[in-house]
């Protein structure tokens, strides 16, 4: 069974989407390690190390995702899990920006995928399966 760490990054307390993601992934047969809201980069990385996770899914809904996610890939490399796939999604930047640019920014930060607001989970699920080699 593949293990996925999920959580809401930064000073963000939006819990509903987080629960939905947990529900869907569990139904798909994944071992979900949900570290919940108000989680730091270190919380994600430590959880991934201890549970030998196969990927990290970062959620952010309050617009400060860009600040919260910066440097996370570097920390993964430092912690010895530099190759772990990381996806990010939600309302990840301030205001209405062209999402192609936003996506580029997050890819440059080291995320494998970045999703705009309102992306249905049916759209992200095939990407998750693909990156996990399923």
């Amino acid at each position: 069974m593949k293990t996925i760490v999920i959580g809401v990054i930064g000073a963000d307390v939006h819990a509903v989407g987080n629960k939905i993601i947990e529900y869907v992934l569990k139904k798909e047969g994944y071992n979900v390690v949900n570290i919940g809201v108000l989680s730091s980069q270190e919380d994600f990385i430590n959880a991934a190390i201890e549970t030998n996770a196969d990927m990290i899914l970062v959620s952010s809904l309050y617009g400060h995702g860009e600040m919260d996610c910066r440097g996370m890939r570097e920390k993964c490399i430092e912690a010895g899990i530099g190759d772990i796939p990381m996806f990010v999604g939600g309302n990840i930047v301030v205001g209405k920006q062209d999402f192609d640019e936003v996506r580029d920014r997050f890819i440059k930060m080291g995320f494998n995928k970045a999703y705009p607001p309102g992306t249905p989970f049916e759209k992200t699920l095939p990407d998750i399966k693909e990156v996990l080699g399923e």
Partner: protein
């Protein structure tokens, strides 16, 4: 009617407590220097004579049991993967079992780390790492490092269960003294102490007391059954929770200031007590113990000095009109110093206050402020002790002090440390007859009696 004798073989003193079950009270207490380096029975018999003298004649005991922290106590090394997760869980298990965590290692062990384990004469190694089904590479690496070094120290495997069999196979191949129990952190942030703690006690009884020359005493008495700090932990938990119809005191903290260490215990639920906080970090147990190996009245007097900032030292010097540095140095060099005049009493009082202040600072839960778009939110790490009803003091400096309240008051909330969740308005109690360890032992035979005696002998501090 039965008579029991409870013995605490401490690092300095062997303490005896005789109990009468019919009167539901203590007959007498006595103590003498611990003589573990030569023959532990000598000190015991000396204390016994004193006890008989106090009781006015020889007593026939129906049961004699002991606990021990003699010969350096129980020294453990905790090994985990991530420092804040499995290593922290492993450390908590060791402390809860009454051990001292002499060494702690996260991630891969090095040859130098293994060398330290051997040099420090560690009694038991607790090997953790990985949640169940999680990381197995690190714990197997560490298992192999320990195996290849040829150490004969008992190892408890309490990590990822998926590779337990593989680890045992390695251990067997190298003829290691290996024990397996449930994972200390089976799921992320979930702490599981019971199995590993019971294993530690089992090994303590089987190997450690033998190796330390304590087993000899079992010719004279029935059994040594616990490490002393675990006995104290049991007593404190019983006193807090109560037993059957006999009610307990509710949420309490207990501070034990010794010559070498200061032990801090909190008995309270770990849930958040305010609605505006978010709990962070590893799950906390109801009964929690921390040990400060650098804070003590004599052997660790220099540790007390190191724990203070230059500014704090100057403040003490000016407020109390003393030379704190010189005084602490003196006590470190004269560990048998007993306060003889007003001045020395004052120094002991100040040292006690520092031990209390620093040990609760390290034990107590803390808040961290976080500004979010939804307003100010607090993270809470550790246990909230603000609602604690009773603070109990034990240990020589408090029991002998004329002003124990002044020393214990240092646990309280202070505006200068607003984010520490210290007790707000507690009442103060004193273990005046020094019976907590003995009552922890008694609770193994008769918890109700132990509780009743504690409620009688642990008394409010007047002034």
């Amino acid at each position: 009617m039965s008579r029991y004798l409870m013995i605490d073989f401490g690092s300095t003193f062997t303490k005896l407590t005789a109990i009468d079950t019919e009167k539901e009270d203590i007959i007498a207490t006595a103590n003498s220097f611990t003589t573990v380096a030569t023959d532990i029975t000598v000190g015991y018999e000396k204390a016994l004579e004193e006890l008989y003298a106090k009781a006015g004649g020889k007593i026939g005991f129906d049961k004699i049991i002991g606990c021990s922290s003699a010969a350096g106590g129980l020294k453990m090394a905790a090994i985990g993967l991530v420092e804040e997760l499995t290593l922290e869980a492993a450390k908590r298990v060791c402390l809860g079992a009454g051990a001292k965590v002499e060494l702690a290692f996260s991630h891969h062990l090095t040859h130098a780390d293994v060398r330290k384990i051997i040099d420090k004469k560690i009694d038991i190694i607790l090997l953790a790492g990985g949640t169940d089904g999680g990381n197995s590479e690190c714990i197997l690496f560490n298992q192999k490092m320990l195996a290849e070094s040829g150490i004969k120290i008992p190892v408890i495997y309490a990590g990822n269960k998926n590779c337990a069999d593989e680890a045992v196979a390695v251990a067997r191949e190298y003829g290691m003294d290996e024990y397996v129990c449930g994972n200390v952190m089976p799921k992320l942030n979930e702490l599981k102490v019971d199995e590993a703690r019971d294993k530690i006690r089992e090994i303590f009884l089987k190997n450690i007391i033998e190796a330390k020359g304590i087993k000899k005493i079992e010719r004279e008495i029935d059994k040594v059954i616990l490490p002393t700090p675990e006995a104290v932990l049991k007593a404190a938990e019983l006193l807090s929770k109560g037993y059957m119809r006999e009610s307990g005191l509710g949420e309490i903290v207990l501070v034990d200031i010794g010559g070498a260490t200061t032990d801090f215990y909190s008995m309270c639920s770990a849930s958040a007590k305010r609605s505006d906080v978010v709990l962070k970090g590893l799950e906390e147990p109801y009964a929690k113990r921390t040990v400060e190996g650098d804070l003590g009245m004599r052997y660790s007097a220099l540790g007390v000095l190191d724990a203070l900032s230059e500014e704090e030292i100057r403040t003490y010097d000016e407020d109390e009109n003393i030379d704190l540095k010189a005084e602490l140095m003196y006590r470190h060099e004269h560990v048998d110093n007993v306060p003889a005049d007003e001045h020395e009493v004052k120094i002991d009082r100040i040292m006690g206050q520092i031990c209390v202040d620093k040990s609760i600072e390290r034990h107590v839960g803390k808040m961290e402020e976080m500004y979010t778009p939804m307003g100010l939110v607090y993270y809470q790490y550790g246990k909230d002790l603000s609602q604690i009803r009773y603070v109990i003091g034990t240990g020589g400096v408090l029991v002998k002090s004329k002003t124990p309240r002044e020393i214990l008051k240092k646990v309280e909330y202070t505006p200068s440390k607003p984010l520490e969740l210290r007790p707000r308005r507690p009442q103060y109690l004193l273990d005046k007859d020094y019976i907590l360890a003995a009552m922890g032992l008694l609770s193994e035979i008769d918890p109700l009696l132990a509780l009743k005696i504690m409620k009688k002998h642990i008394v409010p501090i007047e002034n």
